[in-house]
Symmetry: C2
Subunit: 327 residues, 2 copies
């Protein structure tokens, strides 16, 4: 085991940061080091919790309060983010560290913003690997936050053990336009801001969602009573214990029934396939290759060559290895 | 030139059907024959027109009337469809052939349903190649119909020279929920059913869309007055001549300004890249490879191997060629 692996495994947070930086690097030698590091790490498992909600619903405030509650119980908590828009916004968690000031300073906690400058596939890949690093570093809980743009909820659900949807109290009887697909992947729906003037509305919203969840088909991976809707207040620090107890209960049940293992196994298989596809396509992205693609693309654009025939020629060449394609 | 190429080039419709069947086949030897055939075909160009509209708006009725008008002028017309849902529905055009009875029997026309059993990417690929076959067979106009599910309008616009959106007369002042992205790719918006009781509503709808189109940024590839909204009646056969005159005018202008050539060149380049990506990923879909992926996937799922490391190993193997990967 090299120094970095050793320090990381001992729970050293600077080592963890350095390892994540390797993994997020676009330099091929860094990526290779990162992959080697991952393969050499001891297998430890945290409870991976996905958390999603629209901007302003209180995700950062919730994570601060929830995270502090967990570290108060002696648990080590890592917080990661999947934010496909972070290239533009500059990263949601970074800006939000002020809302997570206490957690950020907590020696049992580790907060890392979403990798930037990448499309969703790239962010997903790095986040999956970062989760593994956090597990190897001995964290007990890994929270993965997403704002839920496009497909990001599904991506996060596909890399976590539990999926929590955070919602705001809603007047009226429409269900806040929550997509059916999201309802179907949620294990716990938390109605935040159940405090002060909003408390009554929040309780009605909880009842609405509890009703909606009952209408969904029962999933084999759920014990009775799940998925569940609950009121919480991140600011008043209310309902967080109950929510955590529910998560633990759900997870214990799934562990006992074999669902936990089955889900992780399927996730690993899908991750492997996604890596393989991404790796194949990445061959088209190497500098020499890009130059050649531009050249061939020009010839196709001029009409000198048929698009499909040109693609077939390039594929032959890629298959054969190192000889340049005939012109 | 082989028999099939010769018969196809001479405009033989049975040869065209056979060539399309080759191209739509999932058998690798057929696909290879199809690719070779495409590469050998003489380069002729039809006017490629994309046509989109929700179910019931009158696409089939319009195509029948519009197609008959064109063949009445001595033009050869091919009608293709891109329907990602055809696996379920059994193919929109096939069922619609009754609505296109006269056109289907017209010796100057050729109607082909959407290839079935394929995801959108596969349908797009085959439709692009079928367009080329129709051009080589001497068709003057190729109409590509789509119902506009998901991304299919964009796909069709990316393989045609003109894009026509067919809409129904709409009471009220909302713009029928037409997505902005679709407005932006439309060259001509035709408000169908501008007849009988619906005529007045249709004329108001035309005015609404004309107004909305004026608010869009002027595109460099448009002559003054375009994109344009017009009333038509497929059943009363009204407005079709005007619509065709506008298409011809638009196309002549783009030909003269170089936009036609530039668009086709860019489309060919993108087609080449899409083929190349699809071809690379198709390697994962070969029987021997699938067996190996299942096996490696199992080992990753059991936790015997790291997903990223397993993917890297498979990639090395794919790069090296024929040696099986070390275990
Ligand atoms: N009343 C109330 N306000 C809250 C609660 N949690 C968060 N907020 C407020 O909601 C706003 C958005 O919170 P933030 O955590 O930044 O939301 P995020 O965008 O989802 O991360 C802030 O003004 C918070 O103070 C809560 O439990 N109750
Ligand atoms: N009044 C009127 N009805 C039309 C017109 N064109 C089509 N329809 C009717 O609209 C319905 C749907 O037509 P169809 O061509 O099958 O629509 P598609 O689903 O878009 O292919 C049929 O009942 C047609 O008779 C038209 O120009 N005027
Ligand atoms: Mg936040
Ligand atoms: Mg139809």
């Amino acid at each position: 085991m090299d120094d970095l692996t050793q320090a990381l495994t001992a729970g050293n947070r600077r080592a963890l940061s350095r390892a994540i930086t390797l993994i997020e690097s676009t330099r091929p030698d860094h990526r290779a080091q990162g992959t080697a590091l991952l393969a050499a790490l001891p297998r430890r498992e945290a409870l991976r919790i996905g958390l999603s909600g629209t901007p302003g619903v209180g995700k950062s405030t919730f994570i601060e309060a929830f995270g502090k509650m967990l570290t108060g119980r002696g648990l080590k908590v890592a917080v990661l983010a999947v934010d496909p828009s972070s290239a533009r916004s500059g990263g949601s968690i970074l800006g939000d560290k002020t809302r997570m000031e206490m957690l950020a300073r907590d020696p049992l906690a580790f907060i890392r913003p979403s990798p930037s400058r990448a499309e969703l596939g790239g962010v997903a890949r790095r986040t999956r690997e970062t989760i593994r690093l956090c597990e190897a570093a001995g964290f007990d809980v890994v929270l993965v936050e997403t704002v839920g743009v496009g497909q990001s909820e599904t991506l996060v659900a596909d890399m976590t053990d539990l999926f929590v949807l955070l919602l705001a109290p809603a007047g009226g009887d429409e269900l806040q336009g929550v997509k059916r697909g999201i309802m179907e992947i949620a294990d716990l729906i938390l109605i935040n801001k159940a405090d002060g003037d909003l408390r009554d509305t929040a309780m009605r919203t909880v009842a609405d969602y509890a009703g909606a969840l009952r209408l969904l088909r029962r999933r084999p991976q759920d014990p009775p009573g799940f998925p569940k809707a609950l009121p919480v207040s991140a600011i008043a620090v209310q309902g967080l214990d109950t929510a955590w107890d529910d998560m633990v209960h759900l997870n214990d049940w799934r562990q006992a029934q074999g669902h936990f293992r089955a889900r992780r196994a399927e996730q690993a298989r899908q991750w492997f396939l996604a890596e393989l596809r991404a790796g194949l396509l990445a061959r088209l992205d190497q500098p020499e290759m890009r130059a050649r693609l531009r050249e061939t693309g020009d010839s196709v654009a001029r009409g000198d060559e048929d698009p499909a025939a040109a693609a077939a020629r390039m594929l032959d060449w890629l298959g054969a290895g190192s000889e340049p394609p005939p012109r």
